[in-house]
C-alpha cells in the first residue's frame, strides 16, 4: 500500500467515523425536538443566534437594519430563507 492510498484510507476512516457519530446523534435529536417548520421566530432567534454569540437585543437596530443584519447572518450561519424571515419578523415585532 503506497503513501497516497494509506493517506486516503486514513482520511476516509476519519470521515466515515464522523458521519456515523453524526448519524447516531441526528437520530436521537430528531426524536426529541419540535418540527423545524413549527418553530417560531423567537425560538429560531434563540437557537441560531446564541449558538455562536450573545444575542443582540431587538432594540439595538431599527427594522430596516435588521433586514440587512439577518441577511448577513443567513450567509454566515446557513439559515434557510424561511428561518431568516421568521427571525426578522420576530425582531421587528419585539423592537
Amino acid at each position: 500500500m503506497n503513501g497516497k492510498t494509506e493517506r486516503r484510507l486514513k482520511s476516509s476512516s476519519l470521515i466515515a467515523g464522523g458521519i456515523f457519530l453524526i448519524f447516531i446523534l441526528f437520530i436521537i435529536g430528531c426524536a426529541t425536538t419540535m418540527p423545524q417548520k413549527q418553530k417560531t421566530g423567537a425560538m429560531l432567534w434563540g437557537e441560531n443566534c446564541n449558538r455562536c454569540h450573545n444575542v443582540r437585543t431587538p432594540s439595538e437596530f431599527e427594522d430596516a437594519q435588521w433586514d440587512v443584519v439577518v441577511s448577513h447572518m443567513r450567509t454566515r450561519a446557513n439559515l434557510t430563507a424561511n428561518e431568516a424571515e421568521k427571525i426578522v419578523g420576530f425582531l421587528k415585532v419585539a423592537n
Partner: protein, 382 residues
C-alpha cells in the same frame, strides 16, 4: 477532474449572472449597514516586553432587493511598526431559493466553524485564535478565506436540519525552499514568499496553477444546541510549470459546538472543539522529501453564571482552552506546540467584553521549553 470543475464553475457563473440580471430588473430596495468590531490588546510575555496593540474591522453590508446581498470586511492592524490594511472578505450572494445561496468573491473559509463564525473578537471567548488556525502569527493549516465561488444553505429535516457549503477556489500554494526557488528548479509563482518550506501559502490570490481547490462542510444539529461539522478540502498546491504540479494537499476538519443554558447551574455553558488534519504529498524536491502530515486541534469550555442575582458575577465568564499543533518531524519547521489557557471575561454588554487570559505554552523541538503570556483584551462588536 479539472474539466469537471471547469464545467461546474462555468455553469454556476452563468446561473449567477442570469440571476443578477433578473434581480436588477425587478423592483428592489437597497439597504446599507456599517457594522464590524474592534479591539485593543495588552500583552506581556514571560521575559518579554509588555506592549499594547489595537485594530478594527469595519464590515460593509448591502442588501439589494430580496435576493442580492453583498458583504465586505476590511481589516486594519498594527504590526511591526506599521499599519496593515487587508481585505478579509468581499463577496456577493444571490439567494436561489429557500435552501440555497450562491456566492462569489473572497469569502471566509466555510470548511470550518471557527474561521467562518467564531473568530471576531467580540465572539471569540479568548483574546487569540487556536493554534493551527490562520491568522496573526504561527503556522496555519487552514485558510482564513477562499477566493472563488461557493454554494451554501440549509435543508430542514423534520425536527432538525443540515447545513452545507461547497466551494471552488484558487486554493493554497506550497512554500518551497529558497535554494530551489533561486535555482529555478521549482517555479511556483510565489518567489517573494518567505514562509517555511513545506507549509502552505494561503495568500494565493494569483493562482499558481490551473487546478482549483474543492472543499466544503456539512453541519448537523442532533440537538438544537449542538452542531457537529465535517469539512474538507482537496487542492493541488504546486506551480503549474514545476515538477510539483501534481502535489496534492488534503485537509479534513471536524468541529463541534454546544451551547446550553442550565437552570440548575444558573448559567450558560459554551463548548467548542475543532480538529484539523493536513496531509501534503511527499515530493523528491529539496526540503519536501518527507511525510508531510500536520494536525492541530482545540477544546474549549466557557461558563457564565448569568442566571444568578449578583450583578458583578453574572457578567463574568470563565474560560479554559487546550490547543495543540503537531508539525511533520522532518520539516523545516518541526516544533510541536501545546498550550493551555485560562480566561476570565467581564461582559459590559452582549457585544463588548474585557478579557483577561493567562496562557502556558510548551514547545517541543530539539529541546523542550515553556513560555507563558498574559493578555488583556477589550473587544467591541458594533
Amino acid at each position: 477532474m479539472s474539466k469537471l470543475r471547469f464545467v461546474l464553475v462555468s455553469a454556476l457563473l452563468i446561473i449567477f449572472s442570469v440571476s443578477i440580471a433578473q434581480a436588477q430588473n425587478s423592483k428592489q430596495r437597497t439597504n446599507f449597514l456599517l457594522s464590524g468590531f474592534g479591539y485593543t490588546n495588552f500583552e506581556k510575555a514571560q521575559d518579554g516586553i509588555s506592549s499594547f496593540n489595537s485594530g478594527f474591522s469595519p464590515i460593509f453590508l448591502w442588501k439589494s432587493g430580496e435576493r442580492l446581498f453583498f458583504e465586505g470586511e476590511a481589516e486594519f492592524e498594527l504590526e511591526d511598526g506599521a499599519t496593515n490594511a487587508g481585505l478579509e472578505y468581499a463577496q456577493m450572494f444571490y439567494s436561489l431559493n429557500n435552501n440555497m445561496q450562491v456566492g462569489v468573491g473572497k469569502f471566509l473559509n466555510p470548511n470550518n466553524l471557527f474561521m467562518e463564525r467564531l473568530h471576531p473578537t467580540w465572539i471569540n471567548r479568548l483574546p487569540n485564535n487556536p493554534l493551527g488556525v490562520s491568522g496573526h502569527g504561527g503556522v496555519a493549516l487552514l485558510a482564513t478565506a477562499q477566493l472563488g465561488m461557493q454554494i451554501k444553505g440549509a435543508v430542514p429535516l423534520k425536527s432538525s436540519k443540515f447545513t452545507y457549503a461547497l466551494y471552488i477556489s484558487n486554493g493554497p500554494a506550497i512554500n518551497i525552499s529558497e535554494a530551489a526557488r533561486d535555482s529555478g528548479a521549482v517555479a511556483d509563482g510565489h518567489g517573494e514568499s518567505a514562509a517555511a518550506p513545506g507549509t502552505l501559502d494561503f495568500s494565493n490570490y494569483n493562482d499558481n496553477n490551473n487546478n482549483k481547490a474543492f472543499g466544503g462542510r456539512i453541519g448537523l444539529f442532533p440537538l438544537p444546541q449542538l452542531e457537529i461539522g465535517l469539512g474538507f478540502e482537496i487542492a493541488n498546491v504546486g506551480g503549474e510549470a514545476s515538477p510539483l504540479v501534481d502535489l496534492q494537499a488534503i485537509t479534513n476538519v471536524f468541529d463541534l459546538s454546544y451551547t446550553r443554558a442550565s437552570s440548575l447551574l444558573k448559567g450558560q455553558f459554551d463548548i467548542r472543539s475543532q480538529f484539523i488534519s493536513l496531509t501534503i504529498d511527499k515530493s523528491d524536491e529539496e526540503q519536501l522529501n518527507y511525510k508531510n502530515e500536520s494536525s492541530s486541534g482545540y477544546g474549549q469550555i466557557a461558563y457564565r453564571p448569568n442566571k444568578i442575582a449578583n450583578r458583578l458575577l453574572k457578567n463574568c465568564e470563565f474560560v479554559f482552552r487546550y490547543d495543540y499543533l503537531d508539525l511533520p518531524e522532518f520539516a523545516y519547521l518541526n516544533s510541536d506546540l501545546q498550550r493551555t489557557t485560562f480566561g476570565l471575561n467581564y461582559w459590559l454588554a452582549p457585544n463588548s467584553a474585557i478579557k483577561f487570559a493567562f496562557e502556558n505554552k510548551t514547545i517541543k523541538g530539539h529541546e523542550e521549553e515553556t513560555e507563558s503570556m498574559f493578555i488583556t483584551q477589550f473587544a467591541l462588536g458594533f
